[in-house]
């Protein structure tokens, strides 16, 4: 099978699927005796990506595989296809999702502990129904609470290839470092200068448990 034919099959299949298609699934399109080698697939995917440079779509790899999507600079026009505004998510929803994404696997009680407030059942339910979050086990403590983790669909939705692509978490600063310089009994605010946000570059890598 020549490269052009392979490229065409891959292009047709990914677009026909209408969802990300994994390399495994692409390989499964061929009978064993005609199946190109894995490096042929990678080469064809790379070539297909290059072909897109002049087109309206681009080939990207997200959590569950490869998909074509509209080029960023065309989004202003493409988004006019639909009248309704994209959905907005509540802070409680996003914070719960963030905790599951960065701290997975995590129980609901652990989420509530960090947020300092109860997590509604409807939030967990809606995250699960969207297929972004699922129960991956149960913690071995009394009550055997469910452990939540994010799914590939979550990565796909937010255009991420893996959890490593999540924005980095801000780093924690240590109160002890300040104690030496400050009069602790005098309940005094710190100089405004110390409040500056930590520049992104200094931030430690994401903690993924």
């Amino acid at each position: 099978m020549d490269v052009q034919q392979l490229k065409n099959i891959i292009e047709a299949a990914i677009l026909a699927a209408g969802e990300p298609v994994s390399l495994d699934r692409l390989q499964g399109l061929f009978e064993e005796d005609e199946r190109p080698a894995p490096e042929d697939f990678r080469m064809a995917l790379a070539a297909l990506g290059e072909d897109c440079a002049m087109r309206g779509i681009e080939l990207v790899e997200v959590g569950s595989g490869w998909r074509f999507q509209s080029r960023k600079e065309l989004v202003p026009w493409v988004s006019r296809l639909w009248e309704e505004k994209p959905q907005r998510y509540s802070r409680a929803f996003l914070e719960t999702l963030a905790l599951i994404a960065y701290r997975q696997p995590i129980t609901r009680a652990e989420i509530e502990d960090i947020r300092g407030v109860a997590v509604g059942t409807n939030i967990v339910k809606s995250l699960t129904e969207r297929g972004w979050v699922r129960v991956v086990g149960h913690r071995d403590v009394p009550g055997k609470p469910a452990l939540y983790a994010t799914t590939r669909a979550f990565l796909d939705y937010f255009n991420l290839k893996s959890l490593d692509d999540l924005p980095t978490l801000a780093e924690l600063r240590d109160i002890d470092k300040l104690e030496a310089e400050l009069d602790l009994i005098g309940d005094v605010p710190a100089p405004a200068a110390q409040i500056e946000r930590i520049p992104a570059a200094d931030v430690e890598p994401v903690e993924l448990c």
Partner: protein
């Protein structure tokens, strides 16, 4: 600047979100700019602000941020006073107040009282700041609050990212046949044998498989309608062993009354024929089902 000076600072009226950005800072040892005291917030806007808090940590963070305070060095007395006033305000406005807000008020009061007590002299010079645990929780919550905003800003399917899809004119979905590993057959056989051994009346005897296979082949070769010449069953190119295997197979089939041998005269060619079934295979299956 003393603690008293700070605690005398006016309670900053809840500001609308725009006011958060005002350059209002308390700088250690330096005079600070006051927020306008006559700031008027319509009750409805206030309610919106109060309702927007995601719990006590969120409210505390907001109070700290709004005054440009360092989270590591919170003026506990002042923050506690402001916090309690907000909670009272929320009660007054009959907002649904989560129990966590009241728990936090108690925590703050406790920290405040510990801050006022003289510290016991420490042996190694290390002493825990009473605020340490609260600061840790605030920071931990703050980083995930930020992470939630970051996730919200990620390119999102259906908002910033549009996935391409094309039509397929003729879909012919098929279901592939199950795959079987030879070892599965062996395991199944081993299982059957193990079970069969438990039924004492069954004695499974090992036979050379080549004879069984040859029996099948002979049967395939034969027909119920016409006779086959006996020598046709043998293939000389198989050599002596092949001939012996075929012969044993034919004798076994004869013994099991699955074939008939006919020889019209002595030394004439022997003819072989399948024993005719009384019923068709389908009928046989049905008969077996009713058994």
């Amino acid at each position: 600047m003393t603690e008293a000076a700070v605690s005398e600072a006016p309670l900053h009226e809840p500001a609308s979100p725009q006011q958060e950005e005002m350059p209002f800072a308390i700088v250690q040892g330096a005079p600070f700019t006051e927020l306008p005291k006559d700031l008027y917030i319509p009750p409805h806007a206030l309610e919106v602000i109060l309702e927007a808090f995601e719990g006590p940590l969120d409210l505390l963070l907001w109070l700290i941020k709004r005054q440009n305070l360092d989270i590591l060095n919170i003026p506990i007395a002042e923050i506690t006073r402001q916090y309690v006033e907000y909670v009272e305000l929320m009660k007054e406005m009959e907002l649904e107040l989560a129990a966590e807000y009241l728990v936090m008020a108690a925590v703050l009061a406790e920290i405040k009282s510990r801050m006022l007590l003289p510290r016991p002299p420490s042996v190694d010079g290390e002493e825990e700041d009473p605020r340490a645990e609260l600061v840790r929780r605030l920071q931990e919550y703050e980083r995930f609050k930020q992470a939630a905003e970051d996730i919200d800003a990620l390119p999102r399917l259906g908002r910033d990212v549009f996935s391409g899809a094309a039509e397929v004119t003729e879909r012919n979905a098929t279901r592939p046949l199950p795959t079987v590993d030879l070892r599965e057959i062996l395991a199944a056989m081993a299982e059957v044998m193990k079970r069969a051994e438990m039924f004492a009346h069954h004695h499974i005897q090992r036979e050379p498989l080549s004879v069984r296979q040859r029996m099948s082949e002979v049967l395939e070769h034969l027909s119920t309608e016409r006779f086959t010449e006996f020598p046709c069953l043998f293939r000389l190119e198989e050599g002596r062993r092949g001939v012996v295997v075929t012969l044993i197979a034919v004798l076994e089939l004869l013994k099991q009354q699955m074939i008939e041998l006919i020889q019209t005269t002595a030394f004439a060619t022997i003819h072989v024929k399948l024993v005719a079934p009384d019923m068709t295979p389908a009928e046989l299956d049905e008969a077996a089902d009713y058994r």
